[in-house]
């Protein structure tokens, strides 16, 4: 029975499901379900095709907005009305069809409608508009049955939240947003399997990557510097007290490492496990002014624990990008940057030379 009808599944996939069935973790009708799931996954477009679709939708919505604003609308109230009608119509039509043209058209109409609604709401004040954008995008991220739309909605909601914080001069709270996004990302990653089992893969994947991209984007703000004089405030800082974010990421890193030492490294001696966690705490402590270093470690480790190669790649890529941006940023002096980067690098290498022989020795001992 195992494997019967699972034409798309590779032998490795069959073996995994057969083993899960033997362990009593899944029902015996898994071949049909796996076939359906693999067929849906095989038909999913690669990222660059999704970028093409996203670009097309963005361009089409821009042209549509220009048409509506220039030919039909003369007032903000009309913009709000037409925007809402466009959004609701796009949502309704999208539920009825998955034809490529409909997918494209509803994406473009929805984005155009949202932009019109935002323009119209601006007459009630910037804060009201931004709150409406945040609420609307959260609803659309959950409700609109399209991966690209969900991803874009998450980014738009977080962008509006960030702008609102700076508008209200609450940028000191950026850490709350960043760490909430980090916790959200880890929660979604941890629950991803359960969501997929409930056939919600279409929902959860764009949300995972949307939240991850938004979180990393927010952390990049810590590398920006604006002259306080330009902001009219002598004490203005774009990302005040970055060490708060670093500490938060340090806690999340410790939690991930706790999971790691209880799974992949469970046969390692307690002293080695403790020194592993202690050494990474030291790295976080040294790199407190540069929260991107701890953030990339969190992403990297999450990718390893949840077996997501793309997330591992994003973690490594973000580490390099953050390093370059931090190097060129103007907030800290070159001497301060030099001290932070060199000390962190030395701590990382020390960790490798102290810890790796113990880990490797355990492997050799096991092999022997």
């Amino acid at each position: 029975m195992a494997g019967g009808g699972v034409s798309a599944a590779t032998p490795a996939v069959r073996a995994v499901f057969a083993a899960l069935e033997r362990e009593g973790r899944i029902a015996a009708n898994w071949p049909e379900r796996v076939t359906t799931a693999l067929a849906a996954e095989a038909d999913a477009s690669p990222w660059y095709v999704r970028v093409l679709i996203g670009f097309g939708a963005w361009l089409a919505s821009l042209l549509l907005i220009t048409f509506v604003v220039s030919s039909l609308l003369r007032s903000e109230s009309a913009m709000i009305g037409v925007g809402v009608v466009m959004m609701v119509a796009a949502l309704g039509v999208r539920f009825t069809s998955s034809h490529d043209f409909i997918v494209q058209a509803t994406l473009a109409v929805s984005l155009a409608g949202q932009a019109l609604l935002a323009f119209g709401l601006a007459k009630y004040g910037v804060s009201a508009m931004l709150w409406a954008v945040i609420g609307g995008q959260i609803v659309f991220a959950l409700a609109f049955p399209d991966r690209i739309h969900r991803f874009l909605s998450v980014l738009a909601a977080v962008s509006a939240a960030v702008i609102l914080m700076y508008y209200l001069k609450l940028q000191a709270g950026i850490h709350v947003l960043v760490l909430a996004l980090a916790v959200g990302f880890l929660w979604l990653q941890a629950r991803e399997g359960a969501f997929i089992a409930r056939r919600l893969a279409q929902h959860v994947r764009p949300l995972v990557f949307g939240v991850l991209a938004a979180m990393l984007g927010c952390v990049m703000l810590s590398t920006l510097y604006v002259l306080p004089e330009l902001m009219g405030r002598g004490d203005f800082s774009f990302y005040p007290r970055p060490w708060v974010s670093s500490l938060g990421f340090g806690v999340l890193l410790a939690w991930l490492e706790w999971r790691l030492v209880n799974t992949i490294l469970r046969d390692v001696p307690v002293a080695t496990r403790a020194s592993f966690i202690g050494a990474s705490a030291l790295i976080v402590a040294i790199s407190l002014p540069a929260p991107g270093i701890a953030a990339s470690l969190v992403v990297l480790l999450a990718g390893v624990i949840y077996a997501e190669r793309l997330v591992v790649g994003i973690g490594v890529g973000f580490f390099a990008v953050f390093l370059a941006a931090y190097f060129y940023g103007m907030e800290a002096s070159l001497l301060a940057k030099s001290a932070t980067l060199t000390a962190t690098g030395l701590a990382v290498l020390a960790l490798r030379y102290v810890l790796m022989p113990r880990l490797a020795g355990r492997v050799e001992g096991k092999d022997a």
Binding site: V13, A15, V16, F17, A19, L20, A42, D43, S45, P46, Y48, V49, V51, L52, I53, F55, G56, A57, A60, L63, T66, F67, S70, S71, H99, D100, F101, V103, Q104, A105, A108, G193, T263, I264, L265, L300, I305, A307, V316, F319, L323, F327, L334, L335, K337, S338, A339, T340, L341, T342, A343, T344, G345, L346, V348, L349, R352, M356, L359, R362
Partner: protein, 322 residues
Amino acid sequence: MRALALSGAVPDHGAFAQATSRFLMLAGTALIIAGVAAFFAFNWAELHRLAKFALIEGGIVAAVFLAWRQGLDHLAGQAALFGAGFLTGVLLAIYGQTYQTGADPYGLFLGWAALILGWAVIGQQAGLWLLLAVLVNLALVLYWGQVLHPPEAWIEDLAHVFGPASWIGYLLSDFRLAQLVFSLNGALLIAWEFGTRRGVAWMRGRGFPRLITLFALAAISDAALLLIFTSEFRGADRLPIVAPILFAAFVAAALWYYRAVERDLFILAVALLAVIVVVTAFVARVLDGFDAFLALSVLVVAQTAGAAAWLRRVARSWRAAA
């Protein structure tokens, strides 16, 4: 999690230790290099010129020595040779800065390319060839702007304010230069694909041809867009139609080659994106009035939907044939 463990997707203890060791080595080295660079940048103005040269030349010698010791088949050896190639340019820039040679910047990039050509030949790695391709492109663009067709002084002043990217962008607004850049990258792409078809092992990676295709498509799309938006269609005696012909020929060849011969969905997607941009621009130029925006919006939706459907069909046919 149990399924991931059974499938081997979650690394075991040994694989985790190996990957962690490699990551910590690379991350630690990168952080220290960045820290040391920041320290020298902090003291750069006070450093004696001989100390500056000694630093860079010492770096080049160390990188070449490392490449020799590790071997050019090893990742560390390849990275070291690439580092030596990069530092060569830094050395030339510091030489020009220290002795105020008065040479045009295109000479820096051309000299840099000439000096690392030998390493690129023996190195047999895409990274060095990509660096070489970028340098030759920059040398061509700057030679055009500094020797062949220098713009008026106020444009140069503007470029000094907005940086070198705006200067290069301005130069590429001459469709003759855009056509030359396209020809250069088209030739590089053909040479690379020829090597791939001949079974040259180090040319199997798809990164280099994808990036060079991006350069070529961007240049020829730029030339076609310039023609669309700047030419007088009606009443013109002679239209410079070379760019649209090159654009159409390149896109058609790419769509055929990367579908039927060297399967590459990325390049097919990029080629179709270029088609959407150029066709939409042409229709925008032809149509008049605000109603045109609605027609253009529908046109973009139709083109994108058609492109996505075709790409999915191609991917499906490849999977079925595999």
